[in-house]
Symmetry: C2
Subunit: 223 residues, 2 copies
DNA sequence: CCGGGGACTACACACAGGTGTAGTATCCTG
DNA sequence: CAGGATACTACACCTGTGTGTAGTCCCCGG
């Protein structure tokens, strides 16, 4: 059940402005988006934007609030259900906005909620794990949340790299298959991870040149 | 070996301007950063910025070029070495800039290089895998690259969620331990993944409400 | 009928910031 | 020692854009 943005004709001017703003903010970012541009997209005068939302900042806050409301609604719909490997996909047209908001700092509460959700799941899973994890579920959940969101944030790059548009159904399915494969096949064996962890412990200062050997695309040596 | 930004005094004005610009662009984004602000940070007049780089756009391109050069140098230093689980960390002060650049579309070639590197590694790993992966290494590499970069892009949120500053050495180590654990413990069992894949194949239209059950922090149901 | 308030528009204002120009100092080259 | 190029500054300009103000239309309660 994706977010359904009804016909613009069916919405009040206020809602149309908000949706247009979320689209523009999502696509161009807060600074680059202009009140006039949003007004044109919503089919109203720029003054009306100010009338309804007071200021550009106020408009942004209304967008954030609406995003939070939408996400909470989606979350409660899927309450108790299994977590999603590709959380951003559920937001449909608001996906770009959430990505921007995360980057520009607005969606912090949503991120924290994701972390909390994942933390619960990981804590459960840890109980049936032979070896105890050496970092707590909260830390791992934060990292996993960031990784999962990275796909949506870098949607354009991922689409280019995959050769399929992530926004389309075929790209979405391809992504899902890739995620299933990735998350069911660890990049490191337990032995490799243990060796890397030990190497990490041996270097007291983080300036050491030893990069723990581990498989993931790279950009360079360790810091 | 991190990127070492030498004393500002030791650099030419041009280099100082470029570094200041990368810092400002990285922290505030392209739009919000101002030429005057960059000039002040670099200790020069705003006219000199224009003198050296022609325009704000030209400055941005020079920053991109320098980033590419820096990353290539790091890559060649670590050539043949093992990939890094946390690629962005190696960039030190340029980390924020790369994150911004990826979001705003400038660093596409770098992303593609990461994907190519990871693709090679995955192709190697696939040869010693009992079950054949059902998506090619390039697609998986693109997804993994995005996931890995997501941590750096959402650095602030991750730091908050972990309770430790990712920019500091202690946060970096904690992240590394989390990554080692995550990448050595699959979130899905092979059976779960197979079941989810099968469920995915059964739903012809992607509008189906069935979210393949898989463990990761979530935001809502599937699209 | 009518008074008021909300929705909505048009237009003017102010200012931030990118860009352009002129001028000065400094250094290299012949 | 020219003399020109390059590094660098100060300042004027102008567009874009957020914001403020006044006014119109329309619905609704009394």
């Amino acid at each position: 059940m994706a977010v359904t943005t009804a016909d613009p004709e069916d919405l009040t001017a206020r809602a149309r402005i908000r949706d247009a703003a979320m689209a523009q903010f999502g696509e161009h970012g807060f600074e680059r988006a202009t009140i006039r541009g949003i007004a044109v997209a919503a089919g109203v005068s720029s003054g009306l934007v100010r009338h309804h939302f007071g200021s550009k900042q106020g408009l942004l806050e209304a967008c954030d609030a609406h995003l939070v409301k939408t996400v909470r609604r989606l979350n409660s719909q899927a309450a108790g259900g299994a977590p999603d490997l590709n959380p951003l996909a559920a937001l449909g047209p608001y996906q770009a906005y959430l990505a921007r908001s995360l980057i520009e700092g607005g969606a912090a509460p949503l991120f924290d909620e994701m972390v909390a959700l994942g933390e619960g799941w990981l804590a459960d899973a840890d109980r049936s794990r032979p070896d105890p994890p050496d970092v707590g579920p909260r830390v791992r959940s934060a990292v996993i949340a960031a990784m999962a969101l990275g796909i949506g944030i870098l949607r354009r790059h991922v689409s280019r790299g995959m050769g399929a548009d992530l926004s389309g159904p075929e790209g979405e399915r391809l992504l899902m298959r890739a995620l299933l494969d990735i998350h069911s096949h660890p990049l490191l064996s337990l032995e490799e991870a243990a060796a890397a962890r030990e190497a990490l412990d041996r270097t007291p200062s983080p300036a050491g040149p030893a990069t723990p050997r581990g498989p993931a695309p790279t950009q360079g040596g360790s810091r």
